[in-house]
């Protein structure tokens, strides 16, 4: 009896990828020097389970590859060898290679990336080097191999020399009156070529149907024809076959082979060999062998799935259980006779129901929240690789990794973050010599910091590099026509210019950043999430990018406030305190603008009724209440008629059917079914014209606002 193992493939792939992630993380700890005794065991175990799994499922390429890896790791674990930086480099490259292999397998493709053989050879070379088992020569050799492999890696950048066309006719193509031979002839007329016949899909003699075409071809064209020309050849048979066109890249020009005659027979042949033996060692083909089945959907499914801690699920189940009990209790009460006693019990039950519902809602929301380490975890590797490539020494500091953020927000913020971190390394940090010359430590520092502030999550990308050069930015902006030479701009305004479209300060466009996809894209991506980004920079000291994102796009705790007959919601997280104004503490600045002296701070007062042009009940400051909120580290008082309840509200979009409204971040529906608008404090303060807010060490003269 055979068991169909394919149903477990996905589990194997997932587990292997997880294992690889763990290996990578531990290896990076080694290279940072923060490893512990368990590190090598973790790496070894991960490699071991991947090897075991792949053997079971018959993925021999992975099993073979992991085997050498495991052997080396075993020796290191046993203390026979030391884990050198060269080993780490090789191991990291193999992790990439294994990921690639697994991804290909999960797409139904069992080909092996070209780097696999190179890496395997490198490992074997290390392992065979037993006579000289010592760190010195071994490291040397590993280094040589590393150089080899990295030179091979550079091939990806070499020019395109032609096309590799994989032609997989459907089995019944001959019955539709199409002749593959003609197509191949037509294809070969485009220029120098090489045709390979793939015969491995010919079935056993007993199952072979003579009318069917079981053959496939790989045609390599060494000419500068366009992809469209190739497509045109297959225009008429597009439905009866699968065509895969890939760019062909080679290291040197010499590898153009002699012409080979096209294969002339379409009949099944007994000779199961390829017509031409191609694989010139210099060849690098970007992609893969043809795949008959379409690429698996697993990747997409990945993007839409979420891994949830079992505790979160357990608490959900508990709550649903309670909800069911409450519901049962209530319906039982309805069946019994109505007395004053049942009525009070029913009241109790309803209160409990409310409690349950809220808990359940919170739990469901929590499922969407993930720690930001999900995004941060990719950076150690990125920073290491980027730093190596640029010859910069970098220390990456991750802070606030447990800050939780909504999954949708998280997914969309990761690309802008990568861009900013790369920018910090590429443009921000100087080369070691320059740093020493500037009197800074040789190793540059990039800090990723995340924390909650108000209703927002703040992510900071801090580098201690050379900072933004205001003169250079200004000149560039003038050259690009963003500003005119006569414009007087503060340093802050100059720095903000980097977010303008079409702006790039890198003098030379580097491989890593400055490809024209500039900071304007970063900014617009962040704005699309209702977030903001700003930059602080000091020449010679470093740059800080600060991204502010809403915690979640779905729910908030709100304080209901009343102005006249209008009810608004102020996000509770913004509120510091609410108080009655003592008129003695109020001073009027510039004759139009009130400031409250509150425990040593001057808090500007924003009158909500004035900003929103509503008629308020309160005629003077003593009649209403002041809600003191925190915005951007400063305090502002919002003057309202009255405070109502506090409640959790589900944020509904105003923009879905209307437009963005200044001062309003969204709407919600209150218990009585009416709509209430949620105040966007930052935008409200901007509307009120309060530009500079009170901070603890600010004196009143600093409050220069334009008035409410």
């Amino acid at each position: 009896m055979t068991v169909d193992l394919s149903q477990f493939y996905q589990v194997f792939f997932d587990e292997s990828l997880e294992g690889l992630d763990a290996m990578e993380a531990e290896l990076l700890r080694y290279s940072a020097g923060t490893q512990d005794d368990e590190s090598i065991n973790t790496i070894f175990r991960a490699a071991h389970s991947i090897k075991g799994g792949s053997g079971t499922f018959g993925f021999d390429s992975i099993a073979g590859f992991t085997h050498v890896l495991e052997t080396l790791l075993d020796q290191i674990r046993e203390g026979q060898r030391e884990l050198t930086n060269q080993h780490i480099d090789l191991l990291l490259q193999s992790i990439d290679c294994l990921r690639d292999m697994i991804n290909r397998l999960s797409a139904g493709d069992d080909s092996v990336p070209d780097s696999a053989a190179q890496l395997k050879a490198a490992f074997e070379a290390i392992l065979n080097d037993e006579n000289e088992l010592g760190p010195e020569p071994e490291a040397l050799q590993a280094k040589q191999i590393l150089e080899e492999t990295s030179s091979l890696e550079q091939l990806a950048d070499t020019q395109t020399l032609g096309w590799k066309v994989t032609f997989v006719p459907s089995e019944d193509i001959l019955m539709t009156g199409n002749e593959p031979l003609f197509l191949i002839q037509e294809l070969t007329e485009l220029g120098d070529h090489e045709v390979e016949l793939i015969t491995e899909h010919i079935p056993q003699w007993q199952q072979l149907k003579p009318e069917y075409c079981y053959l496939r071809w790989v045609v390599k064209l060494y000419c500068d024809c366009t992809e469209q020309q190739i497509n045109e050849v297959f225009e008429w048979v597009a439905d009866e076959c699968e065509i895969k066109i890939e760019k062909l890249q080679t290291k040197s020009e010499q590898s153009i082979p002699a012409k080979h005659p096209p294969l002339t027979s379409t009949q099944p042949q007994t000779a199961m060999q390829s017509v031409t033996q191609t694989t010139d060692s210099n060849e690098q083909i970007e992609q893969t062998k043809p795949v008959v089945n379409k690429p698996a959907k697993s990747k997409q499914a990945d993007a839409n799935s979420i891994r949830v801690g079992i505790d979160k699920v357990d608490s959900l189940i508990n709550m649903v259980g309670e909800l069911v009990i409450t519901q049962a209790m209530l319906s039982q009460l309805f069946e019994s006779e109505m007395t004053s006693q049942t009525l009070s019990r029913m009241k109790e039950g309803l209160a409990q129901l409310e409690h349950n519902t809220r808990d359940l809602q919170e739990s469901v929301m929590r499922i969407r929240m993930l720690p930001i380490s999900f995004v941060f975890s990719r950076f150690p590797r990125l920073v290491r690789d980027t730093g190596q490539k640029l010859g910069k020494k970098i220390e990456l500091v991750l802070q606030g990794e447990s800050t939780e953020l909504d999954k949708t927000v998280m997914e969309k913020i990761s690309d802008p973050l990568v861009h900013l971190v790369r920018n910090a390394i590429d443009h921000g940090l100087e080369l070691p010599e320059q740093r020493l010359a500037a009197g800074k430590p040789e190793t540059g520092k990039v800090t990723l910091n995340s924390y909650h502030q108000g209703g927002n999550v703040v992510i900071e990308i801090i580098d201690d590099g050379k900072g933004l050069d205001p003169v250079k930015i200004k000149n560039k902006a003038i050259a690009n026509g963003l500003i005119s030479a006569s414009d007087e701009l503060s340093e802050e305004q100059v720095n903000l210019l980097i977010f303008e479209a079409g702006f790039s300060t890198a003098e030379a466009v580097s491989d890593l950043s400055g490809r024209g996809v500039g900071m304007d894209v970063v900014k617009s991506n962040i704005q699309a999430l209702n977030g903001t980004v700003d930059v602080e920079s000091e020449v010679g000291k470093g740059t800080t990018f600060r991204i502010r994102l809403p915690l979640t796009l779905a729910i908030l705790d709100g304080q209901l406030v009343r102005i006249g007959q209008h009810i608004y919601i102020i996000p509770l997280v913004n509120i510091i305190e609410s108080l009655q104004i003592d008129p003695k503490g109020v001073s009027r600045i510039g004759g139009e603008y009130d400031v409250l002296h509150l425990r040593g701070e001057y808090v500007p007062i924003v009158c909500l009724a004035d900003v929103f042009l509503h008629k308020a009940d309160a005629q003077s400051l003593t009649e209403g209440l002041l809600v003191v909120v925190e915005v951007d580290g400063g305090k502002v008082g919002i003057f309202v008629d009255d405070l109502l309840a506090q409640q959790q509200v589900v944020i509904k979009s105003l923009e879905a059917n209307y437009n963005k409204v200044e001062g309003i971040s969204g709407a919600t529906i209150l218990g009585d079914g009416t709509v209430s608008l949620i105040i966007d404090i930052i935008s409200l303060v901007r509307m009120a014209g309060v530009k500079s807010m009170a901070t603890a060490n600010l004196v009143s003269t600093d409050v220069n606002a334009e008035g409410v």
Partner: protein, 167 residues
Amino acid sequence: MSEDINVDELNQRLGLLEGVENADVEQYLSFFLDNEEYAVDILRVQEIRCWEGATVIPNSPVSVKGVMNLRGTIVPVMDLRLRLGLPEQAYKPLTVVIVLKFETSDGREKISGVVVDAVADVHSISPDDIQQAPELSSNVNATFVKGLGCTESGALILLDPDTLLAI
């Protein structure tokens, strides 16, 4: 037209119309505004509701009465009298909100309610009976008007929801 309107019945009739598309005849829902009969393509009408008030949006145009809760969706409501520059009138029991589907200039589909004096009737008008609107009186913005439809009872001013509701 009967004195007391039955919103449920109207919605039921609307429901029957869904999916029925006759190429020869277009159906229009007509309504009164300042004693004038206007109409919109009935396929753009999502439903009809009684006026139940709306939450004011700060600093919005005068014609926007606010937003209302349509089964959990936030929907803006516009006073069509004010939008068309007609004299304002206090809302009466017959005042209804017609919820219309429309498309914004960037191709997004939205819904919006319009407050009208009263719903009148459903008319079938063949495209041949629709004429280009002649120069209209100055208080009606000509871009909102799709054309004039001829019925037995007289001319109907056909409005285009896409331009009417674009704010």
